[in-house]
């Protein structure tokens, strides 16, 4: 009754340049933790093996440290790991894999599927049919040889591939590294473990994408899972369960503000988010000075709470109300300037006008505070 863990697309060595250095480092760290969590999950679930369906590494020339850390992170699960080279870490003549071997960083229980063919895990009752990428891009279906690849009797036929299942994924037309959607049938596979699609996705009852165990982008596609596959006997329908492995949730919001209650709603949603969140907000519409201040405060609090929060207010116009202006004590020509900037926000490049208005408002506010003191 073999049971194994299906994961993929670890993309180790990826850096998160859009974030602040500190946040980026945390996000990188989370990916190593994800491997450790996978190992623990495999132990907890009493899995016989862990199959990694490609893109373990984000690039060929990652640092030696990265290579060593990846393999170190697997140590909690001492059963066999099968790692398949994907498009990011293809098994080229010289690759991250050959470097790993030179570094002697690969533990004995980690099998590298650097050549197409079989890896028999007889003790575990699994025959792994591997279709590694040996070039950066291929336009032929590398899993096709599975059809004619014979496996020892009694072992489950488990396909391990990396690429786009044709006709089922968005943007998969003319995609490189194509995979036939009925490969499990033509190759008589008990299960086909796939990587490349970063969300967990079922193609058919025997074919799955596990997705990446730790999300690394905002695109909302069910990332952050590992699959535990349980197959009672050769030919039996696999029993697949999703296990959350993500540390951080990534959210990207596009909101339009027009009245104060819109902001209330936004702030409420922000408050409700868990702390392990990566949040990207882009706002448009208009906001008055008071609400702008409220938003600033809320974002300041959120910055401290969340892993990362970014808010793009370029398209959000500042619309000071009469009360705002009165409160600012903007008499004389300052009033004229404020009016002018308000009007200029409607122009072709409203950004500068908006920023200028914000600066002026803050200066006047500070002054008011000074006077009040």
């Amino acid at each position: 009754m073999p049971k194994f863990l299906h994961t993929a697309d670890w993309q180790m060595g990826r850096s998160f340049s859009r974030f602040e250095t500190e946040d980026a480092a945390a996000l990188v760290e989370a990916r190593y933790e994800a491997i450790e969590r996978l190992a623990r999950l495999a132990v907890e679930q009493e899995c016989d093996a862990v199959l990694v369906a490609g893109d373990v590494f984000d690039a060929q020339t990652v640092s030696d440290r990265t290579i060593r850390r990846v393999f170190n992170a697997t140590k909690e699960f001492s059963g066999p790991w099968v790692m398949l080279p994907g498009n990011h870490d293809a098994a080229l003549a010289e690759s991250v894999w050959s470097r790993a071997r030179r570094l002697d960083a690969v533990p004995a229980n980690v099998h590298l599927a650097l050549e197409p063919g079989l890896i028999n895990l007889e003790a575990q009752g699994l025959a792994i049919l591997c279709a590694p990428l040996t070039q950066r891009l291929t336009h032929g279906d590398l899993t096709e040889p599975f059809n004619t690849l014979e496996t020892p009797a009694g072992l489950l036929r488990i396909g391990l591939g990396h690429g786009s299942v044709q006709g089922l994924l968005p943007d998969s037309v003319d995609a490189t590294n194509p995979i036939a959607p009925d490969r499990n049938e033509t190759a008589r596979l008990d299960y086909l473990a796939l990587g490349d699609w970063h969300g967990a996705k079922q193609i058919n009852e025997r074919t799955w994408y596990s997705g990446t165990p730790e999300p690394e982008r905002f695109r909302n596609n069910d990332a952050g899972y590992a699959l535990v596959v349980n197959i009672s006997a050769p030919g039996a329908i696999p029993e697949v369960t999703r296990h959350s492995t993500a540390r951080y949730q990534w959210h990207q919001w596009r909101e339009t503000l027009s009245v104060s209650s819109d902001l209330d709603e936004l702030l409420r949603r922000i408050e409700e988010l868990p702390e392990a969140s990566v949040l990207d907000i882009r706002l448009d519409g208009a906001i008055n000075l008071e609400d702008d201040q409220r938003l600033n405060n809320a974002l300041s609090i959120a910055e401290a709470r969340f892993r990362s929060i970014a808010c793009d207010r370029t398209r959000l116009q500042l619309e000071p109300t009469e009360e705002d202006i009165t409160a600012l004590h903007a008499d004389g020509y300052l009033g004229e300037v404020i009016e002018e900037l308000r009007i200029r926000q409607q122009d072709e490049s409203p950004e500068s006008a908006r920023d200028a208005l914000a600066i002026l408002a803050s200066l006047l506010k500070d002054k008011g505070a000074e006077v009040a003191r």
């Binding site: 060595g13 060929q60 020339t61 990265t66 003549a93 020509y333 500068s352 600066i359």
Partner: protein, 880 residues
């Protein structure tokens, strides 16, 4: 504000009180020599307002070495219909009392009230300085500072502006200038004055460029790395394939094979060379044999030739013999023809002779007849000639004499006519029946008569009338006539005729006979040219001839009629004969020639026969035959051998050609090179593989892509920071521009009233000049005619004048805004010439209508024409 009274005591030189009262609303001219205390008075006024009564910085007010002094200033003035009374004491007795319309203030309250009224500040500590003086600083001009106006305006700025705000109803922003300054500061942190990025903003640009170049370098290295990896993959594959296939070994095998093949070909070529030598030898031998055989064969051929020649000669002979009868026959025929032709010629001759004779006879007969006729005619003509001769004899006359007589006759006639013309003409017309007798001739009826000689006219019954014609000529004529008549008569007589007519008739008959005679002579000569006798002889001769011919004809043999008819003409017959003769001759020649030919042929045949026989006898020997047979068999043997050899040679040559030794040689070369190249290539691959592996290991350890990714992260941060600063810089720039712009617009509105006052004064001094006020309300740009420049660039005197004008304009402005305006001038305009000073006096006088002016001077004479009473400080002091 009108200062009414000023009193100072215990202040510098004024130890005793000095009172300056009765001050006028307009100009007050206060004069005194140097050191008389003018400046002390001014200082006193300033101290009263500007210095805190508690100030410790007013030691200069203390009279010299008077430690107990309490310098005191008493001021009375009116403003806004309120009476202000200020008493201020310093040092020993620090006090300040102000009474405004019975409201009393004291101490600092009083001081603040004054400051508010006049528009100035107190220093936080220490002595009051320029920057505190505000409006009074502008309007109270100390000695020698009239030209410096900028600072004063700046210090008075806020007071001026607030006055202006009230005036033009604009609200200047209370916080505006501070905001502008803050924005300027913040902008300056990012941008230089000219808008170039600075400090962090500029540094970010540099960092960005640096990072970009780093990234580009890393990316290039990554690309190199990937290229190398690809190369490694391809090379590895090629190496392994080559190791498996070992193509150089195959090339070696091919090389060996080609070499073996080439050796075989070389052996063949050697054999070929040997056989070719044999072939050459054989060919030579065969040549000799064939030559011998040829010689023998040529004699046989000669015999055959002779045989043929013999046959030919025999044939020719026979032919000649066959042709002989034909020639004989031809001669026979020709001869017969010839004889016939000769006979024909004879016949023709005979016929011709007969023809001739007959013709002669006919001719002679005709001749006979003609001669007979001529004889007859000749006798006739002879008779006629005799007749004519008789006639001629009868009518014989001299033709010349006849002619002469005729001529004379004619002369006579002419003379007669002439005499008639000159003769006297007598005409008459008589009655019928009446007759007259003229010279004995009766006349009747009408008529006329010419009279040459004396004439008588006898009238019957009457008498006679004599008429004598006049003139010599008439006489001459009468003589000539007579002469001529005589001559004529003689001639006629000689001729034997009665008159000329008869003479002429006789002459005609003579001439006619003569002519007939000549004609007949011609006729007779025509029939008998040689005379009649001869003619007769001829007639007889011809008769004799005729007889002879006839006899001859008769003598000719008479041929048959037919023969005569067919007989050809002689020429034709002659021609036929000649033809026949030539034919005969030809035939005979031909026959002779034939005979010669036949003979020759016979000789030829005999020769040929002999030669043939000779050679035949010679050839028909046994030895000869044997020789020939051997030769023939030898040749056949040699040819067979040669043919066999040639076949072998050809076969072998074709074998050699098929083997293509040239290509084999090239193949050997090629395979050799290929083997070397292939092996070298493999070694090269091995080397390159090792190189690339080493290189990739080194590069891989650097973690290029991770580095690059980190750099990109840094770049992104820099870019983000840069974009933020850029946005902020742009926003600040925009904000500053807008603020400045709005502020300037406001200032321009504020400037207008000041400018108006300024123009008012300036036009007095320089009618065409302008002086513009800048945004800080400071007079700046000055223009006069073509002159254009800043006020600061003018001469000291002019600057002083402009300064004063400007201050007066400010005063007007302040007054418009309801502010107090007291103007104090301490020995001002000392640098002005008389003319300008005049202008300035007009200006001051004009200003004095609106403002109170205290004018202190040590040159009272210069201000005499101001129209005010000067007050002598010395006398004021004396008064005390």
């Amino acid at each position: 504000m009108k200062l009414q009274r000023l009193q100072v005591e215990q202040l510098r030189q004024f130890r005793k009180p000095l009172v300056l009262d009765d001050l006028q609303p307009g100009i007050n001219l206060i004069h005194g020599p140097n050191e008389s205390g003018k400046s002390t008075l001014v200082r006193a006024i300033r101290a009263a307002f500007f210095e805190r009564h508690r100030s410790k910085s007013v030691e200069d007010l203390r009279p010299w070495s008077d430690s107990a002094a309490a310098p005191t200033i008493d001021l009375s003035f009116e403003h806004n219909q309120q009476q202000w009374q200020l008493t201020k004491s310093f040092l020993q007795r620090k006090r300040c009392d102000l009474v405004v319309d019975r409201h009393a203030f004291s101490g600092e309250d009083a001081e603040e009230k004054l400051a508010e009224l006049l528009g100035y500040q107190f220093p936080k500590k220490g002595a009051s300085k320029e920057e505190h003086w505000g409006i009074p600083g502008l309007l109270w001009i100390e000695q020698g500072t009239g030209q410096d106006i900028e600072k004063a305006v700046e210090y008075a700025g806020n007071h001026l502006k607030s006055a202006l705000n009230g005036l033009v109803g604009e609200v200047a922003s209370t916080a505006g200038d501070d905001v502008i300054q803050t924005v300027q500061t913040q902008r300056a942190a990012l941008l230089t004055a000219t808008g170039k990025p600075r400090e962090e903003y500029a540094q970010l640009e540099k960092d960005r460029d640096l990072l970009q170049s780093d990234i580009a370098e890393l990316e290039e290295r990554i690309e190199q790395y990937q290229t190398q990896v690809d190369r490694l993959g391809a090379l590895n594959e090629a190496y392994n394939r080559a190791e498996q296939e070992r193509p150089w070994e195959e090339a070696r095998r091919n090389l060996e094979h080609a070499r073996a093949q080439y050796q075989q070909v070389e052996t063949l070529q050697q054999q070929q060379t040997q056989d070719q030598a044999t072939h050459h030898h054989l060919q030579q031998n065969l040549g000799l044999l064939q030559e011998s055989q040829g010689q023998l064969q040529s004699q046989r051929q000669k015999l055959e030739q002779r045989q043929k020649e013999l046959e030919k000669a025999q044939q020719t002979l026979e032919q000649e013999m066959l042709r002989a009868p034909a020639f004989d026959k031809a001669v026979e025929q020709a001869r017969s023809d010839y004889e016939t032709a000769v006979k024909a010629v004879e016949l023709a001759r005979l016929a011709e002779r007969r023809g001739h004779l007959q013709q002669e006879i006919t001719r002679l007969e005709n001749q006979q007849k003609s001669l007979q006729q001529n004889l007859t005619k000749a006798s006739e003509f002879g008779v006629q000639i005799d007749d004519a001769r008789t006639q001629k004899q009868k009518s014989l006359i001299d033709a010349t004499a006849v002619q002469k007589a005729t001529s004379t006759q004619r002369q006579l006639a002419e003379e007669n006519i002439r005499s008639q013309a000159i003769a006297t003409r007598l005409t008459w017309q008589l009655e019928p029946g009446h007759r007259l007798k003229l010279n004995d001739s009766e006349i009747q009826g009408a008529g006329e008569q010419r009279l040459l000689t004396d004439s008588t006219l006898e009238i019957p019954g009457i008498g006679t009338l004599g008429v004598t014609p006049g003139g010599e000529d008439l006489a001459s004529a009468r003589r000539t006539l007579a002469h001529l008549e005589q001559s004529l008569g003689e001639q006629l007589r000689a001729l034997g005729v009665a008159n000329t007519e008869e003479a002429e008739a006789r002459l005609a008959r003579y001439q006619e006979a003569e002519s007939r005679l000549r004609h007949l002579d011609d006729l007779i000569r025509s029939v008998a040219p040689n005379g009649v006798e001869r003619l007769t002889a001829e007639h007889q001769d011809s008769g004799a001839q005729l007889e002879q011919k006839k006899t001859e004809l008769d003598a000719l043999p008479k041929s048959e009629q037919a023969a005569q008819e067919t007989a050809l003409s002689l020429t034709s017959a002659e021609s036929n004969r000649s033809t026949a003769e030539s034919r005969l001759s030809e035939a005979e020649t031909a026959k002779r020639k034939h005979e010669a030919d036949a003979l020759s042929a016979s000789h030829s045949r005999d020769n040929a026969q002999r030669e043939w026989q000779q050679l035949k006898d010679e050839l028909d020997t046994e030895k000869r035959q044997q020789q020939l047979d051997k030769l023939t068999s030898d040749i056949a043997g040699a040819e067979q051998k040669k043919a066999d050899l040639e076949k072998t040679l050809q076969q072998r040559d074709s074998n050699i050609q098929q083997a293509r030794p040239d290509l084999l040689k090239q193949d050997i070369d090629r395979y050799q090179r290929a083997a070397e190249t292939l092996q070298n290539a493999q070694e090269g691959r091995d080397r390159e593989l090792r190189d690339i592996r080493v290189r990739l290991e080194a590069w891989g350890a650097e973690g290029l892509e991770e580095q690059c990714s980190e750099k990109k992260g840094e770049l992104e941060h820099v870019n983000r920071r840069y974009a933020e600063l850029h946005r902020r810089a742009q926003a600040l720039d925009l904000l500053l521009n807008l603020l400045t712009e709005k502020r300037q617009a406001l200032t321009r509105r504020l400037q207008a009233p000041l400018q108006k006052h300024l123009d008012h004064y300036l036009s007095v001094l320089f009618p065409q000049a302008t002086l513009e006020v800048d945004e800080h309300l400071v007079p700046g740009k000055f223009s006069r005619g073509n002159e254009l420049g800043q006020m600061a660039e003018l001469s000291f005197g002019a600057r002083e004048q402009m300064g004063l004008i400007s201050r007066l304009a400010y005063a007007d402005l302040l007054q418009d805004a309801g502010r107090p305006t007291l103007i104090i001038l301490d020995d001002t305009l000392v640098h002005s010439d008389a003319e300008r000073l005049d202008g300035m006096k007009r200006i001051l006088f004009d200003a004095a209508h609106r403002h109170q002016i205290l004018l202190f001077t040590c040159h009272p004479e210069k201000w005499r024409d101001l129209g005010v009473e000067p007050r002598d400080l010395e006398s004021l002091k004396a008064k005390v």
